[in-house]
């Protein structure tokens, strides 16, 4: 049973890592559009990346809520 818990935890972690990679991919494309001049995120890039993560998750919530609703109506 401990083993099972371990597997569940690890696969949850893997899913989180996956989401982080995919969000970095999407948000980098959206927020880092200027010429590469510094290795750090600048004053507009940092909040853009943060907002990008939060808005993506807001939007994802909307989708899940609507899917839930559709399932209830069936």
């Amino acid at each position: 049973q401990e083993l099972q818990q371990f597997v569940v935890n690890e696969s949850q972690k893997a899913r989180i890592q996956q989401s982080i990679h995919s969000l970095t991919d999407i948000c980098f494309r959206k927020c880092i559009t200027a010429k590469m001049s510094s290795g750090k995120l600048d004053r507009t890039e940092e909040p853009c990346m943060q907002n990008c993560v939060d808005r993506f998750m807001d939007a994802n919530m909307t989708v899940l809520r609507q899917l839930e609703q559709m399932r209830t109506q069936m």
């Binding site: 999407i26 807001d58 939007a59 899940l64 899917l67």
Partner: protein
Amino acid sequence: QIRQEAAVANARQLVEKLNEHCFERCVPKPGASLSSGETTCYTTCMEKYMAAWNTVSRQYVARIQRESAAAPRY
């Protein structure tokens, strides 16, 4: 049980792809919250993506069936 896991994986992938397309289109510059325009666009996009998925499913399965009827395998 395997079937149920497959269904969950399938739904998850639909949601992932849908988010990719709709976030790309409806949230060009992520701000401090989703604007009502962005939310409306997202809901519309989500419905359209699911309609598109349904059309593709029907068309694809019909085509496969036509072809396997034309060239049956023993």
